[in-house]
């Protein structure tokens, strides 16, 4: 049977190199990883940025094992080949410290494509390499423009090399120097587009951050590898120097986990460590240790434990106090939980904008209120090539191939995050909710005491003249009895009768005022579901609605607030009853509706009716004493307003007209309550 052979054109380099890798930082990181794999203890990334852009250079030098001509040809000239995974690789390096280190490390790269990433950075690439100071330098020159042809196969593009030419200003006596010339863009510039929280906005600043995150700060084995950034421009010197692995030492919580397969299914061993501050605040032990079955979080719910398709996973999540997290950003350690394979970071997991653990989503699902704020969470997850063979890198260095193992990894990590989040919520955050709740309750009690005293004093002072007027009427009545003129007598008796009615109306109002003392005003502030409060009010109002033949339409989603349930329920109930009455008065059969909206830092309970609206004459005085929605004397809305004021809520008439009225109860969100406290 005849056969074909794939024979890629020269242009394939363009796709594999220049266009495959989106982020130029990743292209540089590929070379740094190559240095690590070559057993280097140091790698210098030098930016020579003086003069015009065409004169700029990026030089990456290491003291790794280097290559001779044969090794170079086998490794570099066969894209897709990696000596790192080829046991029969030629060119065994002479014994050296670099060779020892190389043997002790798990290779960071394995695809044999990293070198092509140079095409992402500049038009020309010079490679200088040698294994020992006694060898001649091998100098190879790649002109990537020469590959931009479809008419010849890749193998036909000549790549020139020479022996014996030294690299300028070589930093090491042996190893490899990669010089990228005629770069495609200017590294002195800032990154275009919007600023990203926790990320430098300069190209070099971001590269420095990415390099700092490259090595797992917790994995053993990275101590003997140092990255330096060199910059020849004084105005950019702040980016230069040793890249230190930044990890914050001050944390409120450390959540370590190790997920392993067992005979009864995957299990997770968790160790929770708490800072002395947290221990003092929560009364919890400094360290807790437990083993539980490992769950998967596939969205809203945690699922069955299943099979550990991802392979063993371990890592740690850190919850830092806010001020420490800010310092972390300043140090170049942005928030995020990063993934490391054999100690080398797998991009982009945990980078700003990559919500692989659903941390942002969790916050959004809680209406902006999260136990663990995304900017306070850092951490790392460790996998390995040997332990997690089904977790495979994408060729574009942009994450892992999405397969069942990857899904399993993410689902299990999300379950870990969710469990951690629940712990922080219970131990640290919920008591903080209780603190503002207690303050609100105290304020409410004070306000209540003041209101009661004020009502008593007002009632007392009004009663004096009312009783006195009653006495005066006694006089008129007595006089009337003695008047002989019958017409005058009747007029006087009429005056007495009507005056007594007026006085009794005032007295009845005073009685309502004094009843404030006996109202069971708000007692308990708590974390509560506003939807439940509204539902309770609807249940109470439904008999009135049914009697009036007017349905209640309640559309409420669950939302958490810190408030006092009785006051809110009472207010919603009163508004529903008002709405039912108004709709009934308008002789309409349309429904009264109640809904909950989020507006900024507040939540709004809207009660709409299809009544006749509120008359202009009373609209402005609606929440004053003795005025009701119908214009009659009453204390309903005044009572509601006072009641809501005691729980830091407000009532307003949003709209009214011939098509009905909308009243709104504005309740502060938990975040607003926390800010107030």
């Amino acid at each position: 049977m005849p056969v074909f052979h794939l024979d890629p054109t020269a242009r394939l380099q363009r796709y594999l190199g220049r266009e495959l890798i989106a982020d130029p930082n990743l292209a540089i990181i590929e070379f740094v990883k190559n240095s690590y794999d070559a057993g280097a203890s140091e790698v210098f990334v030098d930016f020579r940025l003086a003069g015009d852009l065409d004169d700029h250079e990026i030089v990456i030098s290491d003291n790794g094992i280097g290559m001779d001509v044969d090794a170079f040809e086998q490794n570099w000239m066969h894209p897709g080949y990696s000596y790192k995974v080829d046991p029969s690789a030629v060119g065994v390096a002479p014994e050296s410290p670099a060779a020892q280190r190389q043997r002790s490390r798990v290779a960071a790269g394995e695809k044999g494509l990293g070198r092509l990433a140079a095409g992402r950075l500049g038009r020309l690439l010079d490679v200088y390499t040698r294994q020992t100071p006694n060898d001649a330098w091998l100098h190879v020159i790649f002109d990537w423009d020469a590959f931009d042809r479809m008419d010849i196969p890749m193998r036909r593009v000549p790549v020139r090399y020479e022996l014996g030419k030294d690299p300028d200003d070589a930093r090491y006596t042996a190893g490899t120097v990669v010089r990228i010339r005629r770069p495609y863009f200017n590294w002195t510039h800032r990154v275009r587009g919007r600023k990203v929280a926790g990320r430098s906005d300069s190209r070099l600043g971001r590269l420095r951050q990415d390099l700092a995150l490259l090595m797992d700060p917790f994995a053993h084995g990275g101590e003997d590898f140092h990255i330096f950034l060199g910059v020849d421009r004084p105005d950019l010197s702040q980016h230069a120097g040793l890249i230190t692995v930044q990890e914050l030492s001050v944390r409120d919580y450390v959540w370590e986990f190790e997920i392993t397969p067992t005979s009864t299914g995957p299990s997770v061993h968790r160790v929770v460590r708490r800072s002395p501050t947290v221990v003092a605040k929560t009364g919890q032990p400094a360290e807790s240790d437990l083993v539980v079955p490992s769950a998967q979080d596939d969205g809203d719910e945690e699922g069955a434990t299943g099979t550990l398709l991802a392979g063993p996973i371990k890592g740690a999540l850190y919850y830092a106090p806010p001020q420490v997290a800010e310092r972390g950003v300043a140090l170049g350690r942005p928030p995020g939980v990063f993934l490391y394979r054999d100690g080398i970071r797998v991009e982009p997991y945990g980078s700003p904008g990559d919500d692989w653990l659903g941390v942002q989503a969790r916050k959004a699902s809680r209406q902006g209120y999260a136990a663990i704020q995304p900017n306070l969470l850092t951490g790392h997850v460790e996998i390995s090539r040997t332990g997690n063979p089904d977790l495979v890198d994408m060729s574009n260095r942009n994450g892992l191939v999405e397969n069942e193992a990857y899904d399993d990894l993410v689902a299990r990590l999300r379950a870990e995050f969710r469990a951690f989040d629940a712990l922080v919520l219970d131990e640290l955050v919920r008591p903080n909710w209780e603190e503002p709740a207690a303050r609100a309750q105290l304020a409410a009690q004070r306000a209540q005491a003041f209101t009661v005293a004020l009502a008593a004093a007002a009632g007392h002072s009004i009663r004096q003249p009312v009783a006195a007027l009653g006495a005066e009427l006694e006089i008129v009545e007595t006089v009337a009895e003695k008047v002989a003129d019958e017409a005058l007598k009747r007029r006087l008796e009429g005056v007495v009768q009507r005056s007594r009615l007026h006085l009794r109306a005032i007295d009845a109002s005073l009685e309502r005022l004094s009843a404030i003392e006996s109202v069971d005003l708000p007692k308990t502030f708590m974390e509560l579901d506003l939807a439940v409060v509204v539902d309770e009010a609807v249940v109470r109002a439904r008999p009135y609605a049914e009697a009036a033949g007017i349905p209640i339409d309640a559309t409420v989603a669950s939302v958490t607030v810190i408030s006092e349930p009785q006051a809110l329920e009472e207010a919603v109930f009163e508004l529903l009853r008002n709405g039912i009455r108004a709709t009934q008065d308008a002789r309409r059969q349309e429904h009264v509706s109640v809904s909950i909206d989020r507006v900024g830092r507040s939540l709004e309970i809207l009660v709409r009716d299809r009544g006749t609206g509120i008359h202009d004459s009373v609209r402005d005085r609606l929440f004053e004493e003795t005025v009701s929605t119908s214009g009659q004397t009453g204390f309903g809305l005044l009572h509601i307003r006072e009641l809501l004021a005691l729980v830091s809520a407000q009532i307003e008439l949003r709209s009214t007209g011939s098509e009905g009225s909308t009243f709104v109860i504005v309740v502060p969100s938990p975040a607003a309550m926390r800010k107030e406290a």
Binding site: A449, A456, R463, A468, G470, L473
Partner: protein, 161 residues
Amino acid sequence: MDAAALLIDDDAGFAESVAASFDARDLPLDVANSWETGLALYRAGLHELVVADYNLPGSKHGLKLLLEVKALRPSTRLVLISGRVTPTAADLIAAAGLVDRFIPKTPDLARELIDEARAAESRAVQGTDWRQVAGAHLARNTIDEGALESVDAALRVQVES
């Protein structure tokens, strides 16, 4: 004719209106604007009916003195009036058992007081029950402080700052 009733109230306007309504019914009424004046008038006149507004300065002390004096003449009917009206106040005062009646300051107060004054006048013409006086004399130092406290709590009006 000596007044059978004494009104102790520091609100001069209110006292004047009540006195005028009594006068219209030809009922004499002594009026005092303080506990001191009221007690002095009572010691002099030994009224059958004493009506006292509780919210006078030093009411607790004044009421205590009045109760002690009243104990010497048990037939005196003591009525407390107050503009402070809560559903529980009347119950608390009744339970304390120190005074004979509590009447809130309502538009009908004057009428209620006139009825009380008429009853007092009819009692005034009856002879003294000396046995009752003797018993009261023995008990005069045993005013229940707790009961006084509860009356004070029920009727005191003040705005807390």
